[in-house]
């Protein structure tokens, strides 16, 4: 954009060195944005002198791009002391002549900063490339080359890199951004012109990723003229405002065209008389609009994101000023992170008030509320700045925090608690959902066969057991979640749809919910009310993870690597205890077997849960609820945790775990083959085996462990059993013994039952002889009650404990009498 005028400057530069030296603002010519920034400074012109960038172009004939600090002798020609790079040993001869100049009002030496920036740009190397190739160019030198190749107009500089390389420079940059960035630009242009003398565009530096970001409400007068980083949402964009940069005047008398007049501190020096010696007509110069050079400018309103607003506040807004390429970089509704300079400007209304705004340097779009969707294999690790702009990056501190978190012994329970904390109990369902969020490893064999890593879950339950809330919650949390209701979805709506474009007549493929939620979770409510036809479409999706279309001239197979979370009511709306589980769910076995976990959520009269409820509510009313709040992770941490695990943790089965898997599977098969059970129970199939592997992998992921261990497998088996209430299922009939249901039993409750069971065991060992006389349950209960910790045990509890012992073959239970065998 500036190219049209730069040759002119080139010619002027050497011919009138005085002019250049006295107006350093001309130097920032190389960066329109910087100049605007400085334009509004009403202080004296920056009193440091830097040699015009143009001069260095002449130097390139002698110094090759590879030599380190450059621009040596030539500067001597400039009238004042110059900003040679005093720190470099090569340029040692310059140091003597350089008298330090300081940024006005500070103790920052221009030369020092300049040298520091040069060192940084030339020598900074990424952490990963360090050591491997020492002779390789620095990160930003590569960046500069790339910019040159692409004919780009800016170089993105990660502030973290600056910090790592030179803390002092970082500090100066944040505190005095106007001055330091101007120097930055100059240094950059010097390097650019060294590499490619005829490069015409002006490259600017764009700083991003500051060490600390500020919230909008904490911006205060002390931040003025500092570099800040803000997060927020764009709510309003003004139209693009042209801002004049260079004006050309024409004499209305003789038609003489003036040289372009550059904007100086917001003003254009309009010539009062014609500059042509022959004419000199007074007040005859008029602006020639189409010869002037304009730059784009835009005012954008940024508003705080909802999560930063404190209780009882309204969102704050801040004006952003965008220049040139940043114009239209974001549109209303985008969540962005901007890096810029916080500035104040006097308002016309009252001289004492100031409007504030942020001069933008860099924009990064963010969306933190969802997990990042990409799997690592999808991330074709292209280096370059783009990557950072598109990918949700966790900073080091956050990763460290997550790792700390994962080391806690109760992380599994803690995550469970944090998942939908307002839904009470249903702990095991939440565990399953947690596994779904983490997911297993997808596997693609060389032979082409692929195994999905996604876990599908079906929730079947009585009305009013908060299934839909769980679904909604997962939908909010999951990446690319799609929420549909079975009633309102058709087969094509779920998969893909071929339609004819009304204008061109071409057939076009339109994606449905499942394709859209590729790599996400597709939540389907009211699964039972879905039409048979639509449901059958799910078969392919749920196992092969593709959607195949063959109609109207289009034969395609679309990826639909999605986890399905569906919920349904049992047939007849309420669970009928007299029917078998399969009959209650009433879905074709083909589909059922594709769900890794099928949860029966039953509403059962249980005094224990009633008491829990009563206690919960009483404490809600009479205690300060804040004090009883458990330590749950907030949703942002949870998503970060899940995203990190999905991206970086790929657990492998340990030998021990593999053994356990085989053992468990064989046992499950055996149970399924119970005589007379032919169809009534869900038998174990290879699919179950895969499910178990996926679940154990997910469980290992939860711990950030790269190895699936034995207890993961045990837990996976437990989840599978609990889900189907298999522990409570009478295998001969396939019905559930309602007394044995343990839905929603909390961890503490399970612990209590385990304790009871072991207490009963020791009591029996103590009181009864092997093959000795039997004992009545009530007697046992009385004995047990003598122990202080079991004062409130009910017969019913004891019975279930003894039944468990009986199943182990430890005792025999006949009616009410217990006999040890």
């Amino acid at each position: 954009m500036a190219s049209d005028s730069s040759p002119g400057r080139n010619n002027n530069g050497p011919s009138s060195p005085d002019e250049l030296a006295s107006s350093p603002i001309g130097n920032t010519y190389s960066s329109p944005a910087t100049r605007t920034r400085r334009r509004r400074r009403s202080t004296t012109p920056l009193p440091y002198n830097t040699p015009p960038t143009n001069q260095s172009r002449f130097a390139t004939s002698e110094s090759t791009p590879t030599t380190t600090p450059h621009r040596t002798r030539h500067h001597v020609s400039t009238p004042s002391s110059d900003g040679g790079p005093p720190l470099s040993s090569d340029a040692g001869d310059d140091i003597d002549e350089a008298t330090p100049t300081f940024v006005w009002g500070t103790n920052i030496s221009v030369q020092d900063v300049k040298a520091a920036i040069q060192m940084f740009l030339k020598h900074f190397r990424d952490g990963q490339s360090q050591g491997s190739e020492i002779y390789e160019e620095g990160k930003y030198m590569k960046g500069i080359h790339k910019v040159l190749e692409m004919e780009g107009e800016w170089l993105d500089v990660d502030a973290h890199d600056v910090f790592d390389y030179d803390v002092e420079l970082y500090g100066k940059m944040v505190r005095y951004p106007l001055e330091v960035l101007a120097i930055f630009d100059i240094v950059l242009m010097d390097i650019v012109s060294l590499i490619q003398p005829l490069f015409e565009k002006h490259v600017q530096v764009r700083i991003f990723n500051l060490k600390s970001s500020t919230t909008m409400r904490s911006l205060n007068p002390s931040d003025i003229e500092k570099m800040v980083s803000l997060k927020g949402m764009i709510i309003r964009c003004s139209s693009i405002i042209p801002e004049i940069r260079e004006a050309v005047f024409k004499c209305t008398v003789c038609g003489y065209l003036s040289d372009p007049v550059v904007v100086d501190r917001g003003r254009i020096g309009e010539p009062t008389s014609c500059l042509k010696q022959e004419c000199l007509a007074k007040n005859a110069m008029s602006l020639v609009h189409n010869r002037c050079r304009f730059a784009d400018k835009q005012i954008v309103r940024l508003q705080e994101t909802p999560d930063e607003i404190p209780d009882g506040g309204t969102p704050h807004t801040v004006s952003l000023l965008m220049h040139d390429k940043l114009v239209d970089a974001g549109k209303p509704g985008d969540r962005i992170e901007v890096t810029g300079i916080f500035r104040a400007m006097s308002v016309r209304v009252g001289p004492t008030q100031r409007t504030t705004y942020v001069d933008c340097l860099h924009i990064k779009k963010t969306d933190k509320s969802r997990m990042s969707a990409e799997d690592p294999m999808e991330l074709d690790n292209c280096n370059g700045s783009r990557r950072i702009e598109e990918d949700f990056q966790l900073d080091e501190a956050k990763i460290q925090q997550l790792k700390e978190l994962s080391k806690q012994p109760d992380i599994y329970d803690r995550l469970t608690r944090s998942l939908a904390p307002n839904i009470w109990e249903l702990d095991d369902v939440k565990r399953g959902l947690l596994c779904q969020l983490f997911g297993g490893n997808a596997l693609k064999l060389v032979s082409g066969a692929s195994f999905r890593g996604d876990i599908n879950i079906l929730l079947v339950g009585d009305p009013g057991t908060s299934k839909s809330q769980l679904l909604q919650y997962i939908h909010k949390l999951s990446p690319r979640g799609i929420y549909t209701s079975g009633r309102g979805s058709s087969a094509v709506g779920l998969t893909a749809y071929v339609s004819k474009d009304p204008e061109t007549g071409e057939t076009v493929l339109e994606s449905g919910a499942l394709v859209l939620s590729d790599r996400g979770i597709c939540c389907i409510d009211e699964f039972d009310k879905m039409s048979e036809n639509a449901r059958s479409m799910l078969h392919e999706v749920m196992e092969q993870q593709t959607v195949s279309i063959a109609k109207a001239g289009i034969i395609a197979s679309l990826n639909a690597r999605t986890s399905v979370l569906a919920c349904a009511n049992p047939i007849g709306s309420r669970y009928n205890p007299r029917l078998s589980v399969i009959d209650n769910i009433h879905l074709p076995p083909t589909l059922l077997s594709r769900f890794d976990l099928i949860y029966l959520i039953l509403d059962k009269a249980d005094e224990q849960t009633d008491r829990h409820l009563a206690k919960h509510i009483v404490s809600l009313h009479f205690e300060n609820p804040e004090s009883t709040v458990h330590d749950v992770l907030d949703i942002a941490t949870l998503t970060a945790y899940v995203s990190y695990a999905r991206k970086h943790i790929h657990p492998q089965l340990s030998d021990e775990a593999a053994e356990e898997l085989t053992r468990g599977y064989v046992e499950m098969r055996r149970r399924g083959n119970f005589p007379g059970s032919s169809k009534k129970v869900i038998t174990a199939t290879p699919r179950q085996m895969e499910s178990l592997i996926r679940l154990s992998e997910a469980l290992a992921r939860i711990r950030f462990s790269e190895l699936v261990e034995k207890h993961d497998v045990t837990e996976a088996f437990r989840l599978l059993e609990v889900a189907m209430q298999q522990s409570a299922t009478d295998h001969s009939t396939g019905t559930i013994d309602m007394d044995l249901i343990t839905t929603g039993v909390s961890a503490s409750e399970r612990m209590r039952r385990e304790n009871l069971s072991s207490a009963a065991r020791s009591l029996i060992t103590e009181k009864m002889q092997l093959e000795g006389p039997s004992m009545r349950l009530l007697e046992l209960l009385d004995e047990l009650k003598k122990q202080s910790s079991f004062a409130e045990v009910h017969l019913h509890d004891l019975r279930s404990a003894v039944t468990a012992l009986a199943s182990e073959g430890f005792v025999v239970l006949h009616g009410d009498s217990v006999k040890r065998v």
């Binding site: 709510i235 508003q303 008491r611 009483v618």
Partner: protein, 592 residues
Amino acid sequence: MVGPMYDFLANPLGAVRSTFDKAIGSESDPSSFDGKDWGAVDLFRHFLFDQARLSQVPILNGATINWIKPNTLVRFRGMIQDMLGNELYVGAYKDGSAWRTNKFMDISQCPVEFNSPDMRLWDRRLLYCVPVPGLSSWAESTSELAVNMCMDSTSEQRDKRRRMDIEVLDHNDFPVPGDEFEYSPSAKRMREDPSPSQYLDPISEGPCSSHVILPDVDRDSLPCLVKIYDSPESELKLNDVFEFVGVLTFDSEPPSEKVEQDEFSNGLCDDVSVNLPPNKVPRLHCVIHRKLTGYDFLQNAPPTEPKPHLVKEAREALLRHLTSILGNDGVAAHFMLLHLLSRVHARADNVAVGKLSLNLTCISKEIASVFGTKLNIVIKSLLPFTKCIPLTMEYLNTAFLAPKKDYQINRLIPGVLQLAEGSHLIFDETCLETGTLDAVGIENTRLLKALTELQKVEYDFQYYKMEMMADVQILILSEGKSNILPADIIMPFQPSSSGSSDVVPAEVLEAWRWYLATVRSLPHTIESDMQKAVENDLVTARQADRSLGSQDFSRWLTMGRLISASYGETSLSLEHWQMVKELERLRIDRLK
């Protein structure tokens, strides 16, 4: 501390200035006052509270704005309707060799050399405040009282007559004597002050300064832009009701000619000054603010100590009155009393604990015409903030219930449901007929439902919605059970007479208001053995009836709490718990 050297009422800025001069004399560096007070606020606090002069400060409202002089001390009672962010201003500057301050004023004769070192930029918060929505007339009259007290402090009788007179008078011929202050000795001192006007706004210095004519400010809803200095953000929240005491600035001049109205300056310029022109909306530079409770709206400050016999008496009398208003339906009156006492006292997850919305059913249009208006009057005379909304199809389809952010003017457009904490709403559903709800209507019903169930209102910020906590008592009158507003208590209304319409003496009303305000704010606990008993009761009830859920339990406990509170007690007793069960039984019987 020595007596006031300045007339705080008439020349508050003088006090500000003198304290500043004193402070700067000892400190010499104004940067030490960044975001801090240098002692001016303490001086005012001493004057207003320790010397109890608060009542002498005139209240700013639509009537008084016409005669209150700018740059004097005023009070404003209102609800924070919108927060307009922070504003930077030149807090201190060097005038020659002396530092001057601009704190607590809008415009000064500051030499404006931008970014000079002889200048400190400070910030202040802008709050847009409006009179509390639905403020009852009895709560409002405090202001007039204060005005009268300011004008002359004669006997109460005359006062009352005067108050009625004022209500009749149009604000145009409201007595606008600029010399009320003559009565106060401090005003005289002000006259003697050598340079009182030096720090006054030059614009309002003109002869017309005391007679600011407001073109189109509604008398009832004078908004005010309050500028808050140096107070933590968490102290002031949206929808809170506050009393702000501070310096009034009010610009009678039309805004200076709009030069350079280009888009650039418009886009960056403060929306505040554009959309809230200083000649329409007065500015109050707040020195001291305090949060108001229902208690503060009572006329005479009655005994703070809730004496048991007073509470019992008031309870009996109020209950009797409610019973007679409700056509001798004693059960309904009991529930009504509990309903009037309810408030959200805690929140856990999604549950607002303590709310008790009441739905009186079996009310046909005719019954509603008899009892609805009476109820409305009674509630209006008892509670400070009330509103009655007849729900019709048209209303649902057109009303703006939720506040909405307008990004064009960068303001929160108030909705009907933007209410102060503790407001009371009556929804009259009897006039609702069948019809079609459009998109707005559906959204509105959703909002109403969320308000009744969760005590939350979703504010529409266009790109996202933000839930704001509310604490609103909701009374619904309907023929059958209302589905739009699912109340906690469904109460079939069975009047046996047409209800009385006795005129209640003012003192009695006053006592009832005091009773409601006091008892509502009582703390509450439960003894551990009582807790056990309650738990057992709940478990047995659920064993007997599986349909009972957490909502029912919640309701019982809330009722238990409110019943004991209504007797002025702070912990639940078995007797009151039995009363809850009895009331519930009576209610369930009626439902059958």
